[in-house]
Each structure stands twice: as structure tokens, then as C-alpha cells.
């Protein structure tokens, strides 16, 4: 099992270092490492290829989208409804992930925790698990006949599947590991001695966590939250298996795109562009608000 730091999907989550820099970042415009000025072809070629591979599909999306139909597709019943459901559920999921994920990361990052690597492996499972399998797994526990779902249904008459709550559960399931690993990385990279300093000043452990730990790993939390939100927004497999595909209640954007692809590929392209636009906008907004504050 690779270490969480090596997880390629988490590259964005690299925490900003929390050690106080002695000086502000050096001026990048001055090339003060002349021996590193040339990029060897052996690296430049695959790097360029990787970049192209990431960008070209997006360009294709933008080029091939039938822009003239945009107004009609967006005004249609499905699109905005699905978008609204997606944004709301992804945001709620992100909040839930933050509330339960940050403490889990904190526990995981505690020095000398027994079984930490086993725990970390368990947490990583949803990352590598096909989402459809995740959805099936959720069904076995929270479905109407599930381990917890059956008693819940008997007591209250409520069942998760085919409700927006199921959408949120599916999203939390797949997004949680992103935040936990990102925040845990930030905690490990942060200088725990600040916490010691705070405790010698009279701060109780909870106060230390609230006033020192949280602000210091703020960038890591923000990065993790963004990743979690994006993962939740794009969630498809677990949603369709566990929550179903009902317009207005469980049909999120990715489901809408998939559905449209079968009947009207042009509108699927437009919906994809819309989803892309919303993701990029939110990402940019969050970056502006939190990440760059440091």
C-alpha cells in the first residue's frame, strides 16, 4: 500500500507548510538557480504529454458542445433541477465530511497511535473501491433490509434508499477519505510543538485544538474540503446504486449527464460543460477565500 502522501489524487492536497517561514517566499521572477534553468527533454516530453492528456478532453468538451442549443437545454426541466440537487447535496456532504473527518484525521495523526497503519488502510478503501461496489455495500447496511436499515425502518418507517439523504450518504462515503488523508497529511507536516507551547500557556487540549491546531492546518483542511466537495459533486456509481435515479430527489448532475448521453448527446455535452464550469468556479472561489489567505 502506498503511503497516503504518494496518492496521486491527493497531489492537490499537499498541505501548505505550517512552519513559520523565516522570510517571505523568495522572489520567483529572479532565476537564482541557473543550473536548473533548462528542462531536460527526457522530462519535458512526458510532462507535456501528461498536460495535453489532461487538457485536451476539456477542450474537446468546449469545442464540441452545441452552444446554440444551450438556452434550450438549460431551460429544460432536468438540468437546473439536477444541478441544484448536486450542489446542495455536495455541500451538505462536505460539511458532514468536515465535522466527522477532521477529528478522525486528528486521531489518526496522534503520535504513537496503535494500529494507525491498519486504520489508515481501512480509510483508504473507499478511495480504491469502485463506487458501484460502495453503493452496494451501503445498501447492505442502510438499505430497507440492511443491517441497520431494517431496525430503522421498523421503528420509524423511514428508509434511506431513493431519498436525497441516500445521495448524501453515498457522497460522504466516497469523499470522506479524501479529506481525512489530506488533513492527516497537514497535521503530520505541521509542527506539533506549537500545541505544546499553547498548553504551557494554560490552554486545555480542546482549546489547543480550536485555537492552534485548526488554524495551523487551515490550508490542509481547505484543500481537503475542496477535494471532498469535488468528489461528492462528481459521485455517480454509489449514488445510482444506493440512491437510485429519481428526478428532483436523487438524480444529480452526473446521473443527468449519463442519462442525456443515451438520448441526446448534445445536451449531455452542454450539461457536462455546465458541471465543469460550476466546479471550476467553486474551486476558484474557495482558493480565493481560504487557500491563498496564507
Amino acid at each position: 500500500m502506498p503511503s497516503p502522501d504518494a496518492e496521486p489524487t491527493l497531489a492537490d492536497a499537499k498541505p501548505a507548510t505550517t512552519r513559520a517561514p523565516a522570510n517571505r517566499a523568495p522572489d520567483n521572477r529572479v532565476n537564482n538557480r541557473p543550473w536548473q534553468s533548462g528542462i531536460p527533454l527526457l522530462l519535458a516530453a512526458p510532462a507535456g504529454l501528461a498536460l495535453l492528456f489532461l487538457i485536451l478532453p476539456l477542450v474537446g468538451l468546449l469545442v464540441r458542445a452545441p452552444w446554440t442549443d444551450a438556452a434550450a437545454v438549460l431551460a429544460g426541466p432536468g438540468a437546473l433541477q439536477a444541478l441544484k440537487l448536486s450542489v446542495i447535496t455536495a455541500t451538505i456532504s462536505m460539511i458532514i465530511v468536515l465535522i466527522i473527518g477532521v477529528p478522525l484525521a486528528w486521531v489518526l495523526a496522534r503520535p504513537g497511535l496503535r494500529g494507525a497503519s491498519l486504520l489508515r488502510a481501512l480509510i483508504t478503501i473507499p478511495l480504491v473501491l469502485p463506487p458501484v461496489v460502495g453503493g452496494v455495500a451501503l445498501f447492505t447496511v442502510l438499505g430497507r433490509a440492511g443491517l441497520l436499515g431494517r431496525p430503522l425502518y421498523r421503528l420509524t418507517g423511514f428508509a434511506f434508499p431513493f431519498t436525497p439523504y441516500a445521495v448524501i450518504l453515498a457522497q460522504v462515503f466516497v469523499a470522506l477519505p479524501f479529506l481525512v488523508l489530506s488533513v492527516e497529511g497537514a497535521l503530520r507536516a505541521s509542527d506539533r510543538r506549537y500545541e505544546e507551547a499553547a498548553s504551557t500557556l494554560g490552554a486545555r487540549p480542546v482549546t489547543v485544538f480550536r485555537r492552534i491546531t485548526l488554524p495551523l492546518i487551515g490550508p490542509g483542511i481547505a484543500a481537503g474540503a475542496v477535494l471532498a466537495w469535488a468528489r461528492a459533486l462528481g459521485e455517480f456509481g454509489a449514488t445510482i446504486t444506493f440512491a437510485g435515479n429519481f428526478p428532483g430527489t436523487t438524480r444529480t448532475m452526473p446521473l443527468e449527464v449519463y442519462l442525456a448521453l443515451e438520448t441526446d448527446p448534445g445536451s449531455a455535452l452542454l450539461l457536462s460543460v455546465l458541471l465543469l464550469g460550476v466546479s471550476v468556479a467553486v474551486l476558484a472561489l474557495l482558493r480565493e477565500r481560504w487557500v491563498s489567505r496564507w
Partner: protein, 356 residues
């Protein structure tokens, strides 16, 4: 009078054992001096509560904060202490003022009042105008003052300083040292200063405690320690040559079989100390007056102040190396270089002898 700090510290960690007894009075400054790995930081962490003692007991201001026998272990936030950490550890997300106000604030003081007090403290350490700055934006010397102000803000009974001057450049070092000395003089509680710099320790502390391998090897006033070192480490620290042997009349017999001639008779196990400047070097064996003369070979020469410090590596008679300090012109006249064979001579009257 009951000491402000009374501590018997026993800490076991793998092969390392710290076994240390400390007693510091109100207003007294004690420096804990020792080489790397001697257990200085371990002692400080144990006193602060960041590390649990495996045996012993710690009393601060008459209050037991740790007792291994009755398994009392107060957490750091429950101890009346203030700590200045080695690299200060100012909270990077808070302003200088809020760093200083942090202690009073988390101890329940009203926010306005905490900030007002913090501002007063900053004024006292002479950086009132930096309150709004972030720690990243201030200099090392300023950060040191903030760290001290922050530690004093909670009115601790015990102030712990961990290498408080180590992170400063040479020029700031002297300046800040004088300031710290002034602030420590104003502080009414007990102060323990951990350092590996003997000069910082002598300037700042009323009393030195030297530890090696987790044990006290020597303690006393800075003058006592500087004049009468009791281990090789301390001798090197204060810049003296140190030999051990047993006194027989006007001689000290060294374990190697050699002897040191003295001006006064002594008996029993003794230490023999002499300044490097009291050692003269000759290319040929000198004769005349009652001198101690040893043959040896030069291991290294290096400039030291206005003179040259010569380390004579193999002195068979002393079973120890000897430091000599001579003038650069003497080095030239005698054509001394690493590897040269020389005779080292010390007058009996330049030798200090004291009981082991």
C-alpha cells in the same frame, strides 16, 4: 525558606536515564548546562509537564505538580509555568499582541483586558509598536522578546528557558542577552535556563548546574565552576587544562605514571587545573626553575583571540591532551606546525589544585 521549585526528576528512556535534583529559590536564576544529549531538554520537558517522570516529585510554588509515587501528573496547562522555547514557537497565525495575550485569554481573562496587559508587556520589553505584526515579519531578536513576554504574561512561578539565545546571530546575541538578564532580574519566580553556552550561563545565572549523561557532575556559582572544573567537559567549556591524580607532598601523581610539581603540598585525590596561557612551549627541553615539563606532539593550531591555541595531542606523561596559548610570533619563531614535537612547560605556581 521553601524553594520556589523543588524537583527530583527521574526519567528513563531506553538506555538513557535522567536523575537530577533541582532546587531553585524565588528570584533565583539557575542554568542547566551540558553537552548535547546530556538530558537538559528532557529535564525541561519534565518540569513543564510535556513528559512524564518515571520517578521523583516536582513541587512548584509549594504545589505538587508531579509525583511518580502517587501518580500525580499535572498536564502543562495546569502548572504555574512559563516556557520560552528554543525557536520561540510564536503562533504564526496570531499577531504579536495576540501571541502575548494568548496565555491570559485561555486562562479565562476577558479579551480586552488580556490585550491591554499584553500591550503593557510588549512595552516593557521595548517592542510596543510591533503588536500588530505577524511573527514571520519580525526579526529573531524581536521574536525572542515576544516569546519572553508571552511566557511572563501568565505570571508563572517557574520560568523555563530552552536555549533562549541559540537562534540569534552573534551581534543580536549580546544585545538580547543583556536584556534577558534585566528581565530575569525583575522576575520574582524561579528561573531555569537550559543552555550549552557557558558564557550565556555565567552572565544570566546565579548558579550553574552541569549535567552529563543525565547526572549532575558539578554545580556552583559561575565563578566556582569556571575556576575549578571537575570534568573534562566543564574544563573544555571554561577553557582550562584539567588533570586528575593523587597528591603526595609537593607532587600529584598521575595515573599515567607521570607527575605534576606543585608550589604547595597536597594529599588525597585531587584535580589539577591550569590555564592554556600558563603553558610555554619549547623546541628543546628547557632546564632551570621548578617547572613541569612534558614532551608531546602538536595535534592542531588555531587562532584564538589575539593568540594561537595549540593542542598538544600526545602527552604520554599526562595521558591527556594539553592546550597551550602562545603568541603568533612565538609560533613563527619556533616554527611550530601540526606534527611538530614540542616540550610543554608549566610553572608550579600557575597550577591550581583542589580536592576531587
Amino acid at each position: 525558606m521553601v524553594a520556589e521549585l523543588f524537583a527530583q526528576l527521574g526519567v528513563r528512556r531506553g538506555d538513557f536515564t535522567l536523575d537530577l535534583e533541582l532546587e531553585i529559590g524565588a528570584g533565583e536564576v539557575v542554568a542547566l548546562l551540558g553537552p548535547n544529549g546530556a538530558g537538559k531538554s528532557t529535564a525541561l520537558r519534565a518540569l513543564a509537564g510535556l513528559l512524564q517522570i518515571s520517578s521523583g516529585r516536582i513541587t512548584v510554588g509549594g504545589q505538587v505538580v508531579a509525583d511518580a509515587a502517587s501518580t500525580i501528573h499535572r498536564a502543562p496547562h495546569e502548572r504555574p509555568i512559563g516556557v520560552v522555547f528554543q525557536d520561540y514557537l510564536l503562533f504564526p497565525h496570531l499577531t504579536v499582541l495576540d501571541n502575548v495575550a494568548f496565555g491570559p485569554l485561555v486562562r479565562g481573562m476577558d479579551k480586552q483586558e488580556a490585550r491591554r496587559q499584553a500591550a503593557l508587556l510588549l512595552e516593557r520589553v521595548g517592542i510596543a509598536d510591533l503588536g500588530k505584526s505577524k511573527p514571520q515579519a519580525i526579526s529573531g531578536g524581536q521574536a525572542q522578546r515576544v516569546a519572553l513576554a508571552r511566557a511572563l504574561a501568565t505570571n508563572p512561578r517557574l520560568l523555563l528557558l530552552d536555549e533562549p539565545l541559540a537562534a540569534l546571530d552573534a551581534k543580536t546575541h549580546l544585545l538580547v542577552r543583556a536584556e534577558v538578564r534585566r528581565h530575569l532580574a525583575d522576575f520574582s519566580g524561579a528561573t531555569l535556563l537550559v543552555t550549552h553556552d557557558p558564557i550565556d550561563a555565567s552572565v544570566l545565572a546565579d548558579r550553574l548546574i552541569v549535567i552529563e549523561d543525565g547526572r549532575v557532575v558539578q554545580q556552583g556559582t559561575p565563578l566556582q565552576v569556571a575556576r575549578r572544573p571537575r570534568t573534562d567537559y566543564v574544563a573544555r567549556l571554561v577553557g582550562l587544562n584539567l588533570l586528575t591524580g593523587s597528591g603526595r607532598g609537593h607532587r600529584v601523581l598521575l595515573p599515567s605514571g607521570g607527575a605534576v610539581e606543585l608550589a604547595e603540598p597536597v594529599s588525597g585525590d585531587v584535580y589539577v587545573a591550569f590555564r592554556p596561557a600558563a603553558v610555554s612551549l619549547f623546541v628543546h627541553r628547557p632546564d632551570g626553575s621548578p617547572r613541569n615539563v612534558w614532551a608531546g606532539r602538536i595535534a592542531a593550531l588555531e587562532p584564538h583571540g589575539e593568540g594561537v591555541r595549540v593542542e598538544i595531542g600526545e602527552v604520554p606523561d599526562c595521558s591527556s591532551s594539553i592546550l597551550a596559548e602562545i603568541t603568533p610570533s612565538a609560533v613563527a619563531d619556533l616554527d611550530l606546525r601540526a606534527g611538530s614535537e614540542v616540550w610543554a612547560a608549566v610553572k608550579a605556581s600557575d597550577i591550581e589544585v583542589y580536592a576531587a
